[in-house]
């Protein structure tokens, strides 16, 4: 499956990944409208962590033995059979936050409504996730581990 490799030594902490993630998950897919009108309703699936000169952009690791799937009490958190991505079916999620308790990367968030979980979906429908495509310094790299 496709995985995003994080190269912290290349990250300059610019935050463009977060910006593009918000736009991609907005209804308008327009940067100005996404930020002026829709920003409060979107929790980006990628977050830049910074500490002095060290920084990296973190999104769900789509783990092989995903603790969030194992802990999910409704079955909402599941693996997409085609892409291998770990996805949350928000129709079935009840916001029990077992996933937040279980994720060692801290990569599952409470969604903007506060009622369902929100996380990286590897940009459904895109060949390359927008955080990778728009990273100016190849600090996020798409790899295919060949495992399906």
């Amino acid at each position: 499956m496709k995985r995003i490799r994080i190269c912290e030594e290349h990250c300059i902490g610019c935050g463009l990944c977060e910006v593009h993630c918000v736009v991609q998950h907005s209804r308008s897919r327009n940067i100005i409208r996404a930020f002026r009108e829709e920003r409060d309703g979107i929790v980006p699936g990628v977050k830049v962590e910074r500490d002095g000169h060290l920084s990296f952009a973190l999104q769900c690791r789509h783990c092989e033995d995903a603790p969030c799937i194992e802990a999910c009490m409704t079955g909402a958190m599941h693996r997409d059979p085609e892409t291998g991505a770990v996805l949350c079916d928000t129709e079935r999620c009840v916001g029990c936050w077992m996933c937040i308790m279980a994720c060692p990367a801290g990569a599952v968030q409470r969604g903007a409504s506060g009622k369902v979980a929100s996380k990286c979906d590897l940009c459904i429908g895109e060949d390359v996730p927008v955080c990778v495509a728009n990273c100016p310094n190849e600090a996020l790299v798409l790899e295919d581990d060949g495992d399906d």
Binding site: R3, I6, E8, E49, R50, D51, L54, S55, F56, L58, R61, H62, C63, E64, D65, A66, P67, E70, A71, M73, T74, G75, E91, R92, V94, G95, C96, W97, M98, C99, I100, M101, A102, C103, P104, A105, G106, V108, Q109, R110
Partner: protein
């Protein structure tokens, strides 16, 4: 006699995970799943949401409707197993059938406790609450009798979620808890106080340090409860939520070793050859203390099911040890607790931050340079990073000063461990 390669008794988390575990290794060996319950596999923790009307019956399914079929599972729902014979590799059902197996998994869960010494506990309107049938029965009773008041006996997690459902239905509810505070098994005192305060705001009365001594009934229906402190509370419905015991009855007379639960090794094998146990019925090694304990929580049941399934199919999967962890939202207050929630004596250290007005609290319990437990109330974001540090027993003495800071994150962690988390392999088994 019917024969099957893999026989699974149970139809909840551990059973479902075991099917996945088997299929990861063996794509087409016969799997037969027997369950006393009649429903398609459903999410047990959602039963209180169902009662409260937060989810509909169509949302109860733990796996999609075609899941058994797609996984190649032959189901025998509504069938009770009465006897297991490990020598003969067979089980008997209440309907008089005998089924042969090559590998057997017992994943039958627990049975709710009803206190035997409480008089009147057989009155109508008295329930336990651990199955979808219970949810239906309680909902029907509430509707038929137009119930407006209820007592929930037990201030633990099941009790709390029951209370939440009842207040959602506009039923005035009192909690009766034997300990001196609610959630004493999973919370420290501060977190219990915050939870109790949130419930009080929602109009729930909590009576601690007391329990029901006797139930009062009229025309065979419960009308109140006499408490051990002498007081009498009226009610039209009473739910016992005082705990669940592993349903070990199924192995009685089979020669399979059981203590509190069915004893299993790190491969989820019982004392009998080709017989495995997983989930709430199993007594497996605990991560922090190393002894075999029953830790009846959802994520443990899933992991045990996966380990059992893989091993039944011939792989070499290892149970990494059970860790107590619970995430429960009280009315609208999210809480998470993991591991040891209070210093257990010398050598333990507690770090905490409390905001009483915002009902927000974070606490870490450290022992010999490692985090062994945590409590989060209100602010639960990124709690899993701490769970990971506990589970992987990471030495945090170097980063002790930043553990409680607002910008604590993965970036604060030792580089070698951070690298494992970022690569997504920290959980690989």
């Amino acid at each position: 006699m019917t024969k099957t390669k893999y026989l699974i008794i149970g139809n909840s988390v551990a059973a479902v995970a075991a099917v996945s575990g088997i299929r990861q290794v063996d794509a087409d060996g016969d799997i037969t799943l027997i369950s006393r319950e009649t429903q398609h596999t459903y999410s047990r923790p959602l039963i209180t949401y169902l009662l409260g009307g937060k989810v509909g019956e169509e949302q109860m399914a733990y796996r999609p409707a075609d899941w058994y079929e797609k996984s190649g599972v032959n189901t025998m729902l509504g069938t009770e197993v009465t006897h297991v014979d490990p020598e003969a590799h067979t089980v008997d059902t209440a309907g008089g059938q005998t089924i042969g197996y090559e590998k057997l998994l017992i994943a039958v869960g627990g049975t709710p406790i009803v206190p035997r010494d409480v008089q009147g506990a057989d009155a109508e309107g008295v329930f336990t609450f651990t199955t979808m049938d219970d949810a239906d029965a309680i909902a029907n009773y509430i509707e038929e009798r137009e119930v407006r008041s209820a007592i929930v006996v037990g201030g633990g997690l099941i009790g709390l979620k029951s209370v939440e459902a009842l207040i959602e239905l506009g039923i005035s509810t009192t909690v009766v808890e034997l300990a001196d505070r609610m959630l004493s098994a999973t919370f420290d005192e501060t977190a219990s106080t915050l939870a109790q305060r949130r419930l009080a705001r929602a109009g729930v009365e909590v009576r601690t340090s007391t329990t029901v001594a006797e139930l009062l009934s009229e025309n065979g229906r419960v009308v109140g409860a006499k408490l051990t402190d002498g007081e009498t509370l009226p009610c039209e419905l009473l739910i016992f939520a005082i705990g669940v015991l592993p349903a070990t009855g199924i192995v009685q007379g089979s020669g399979i070793d059981s203590d509190r639960g069915i004893i299993v090794d790190d491969g989820m094998r019982t004392s009998a050859e080709d017989v495995y146990a997983a989930g709430d019925v199993a007594q497996a090694r605990a991560l922090l203390c190393g002894t075999n304990r029953c830790i009846a929580i959802f994520p443990n049941a899933y992991r045990q099911g996966i380990v059992a399934g893989r091993n039944m199919a011939g792989a070499e999967a290892q149970w990494e040890g059970g860790l107590v962890m619970n995430s429960v939202t009280i009315v609208d207050l999210p809480t998470i607790s993991v591991g040891v929630t209070e210093a257990l004596g010398e050598g333990y250290e507690e770090l905490s931050q409390l905001n009483e007005v915002a009902l927000s609290y974070r606490k870490l319990v450290l022992h010999e340079g490692r985090i062994v437990g945590a409590v989060f109330v209100g602010d639960i974001d990124r709690a899993g990073i701490i769970t990971g540090l506990i589970r992987e027993r990471i030495d945090v003495s170097e980063i002790r000063d930043v553990l409680m800071s607002d910008d604590f994150g993965l970036i604060s962690l030792p580089a070698a461990y951070r690298e494992r988390v970022l690569s997504g392999t920290v959980n690989r088994r």
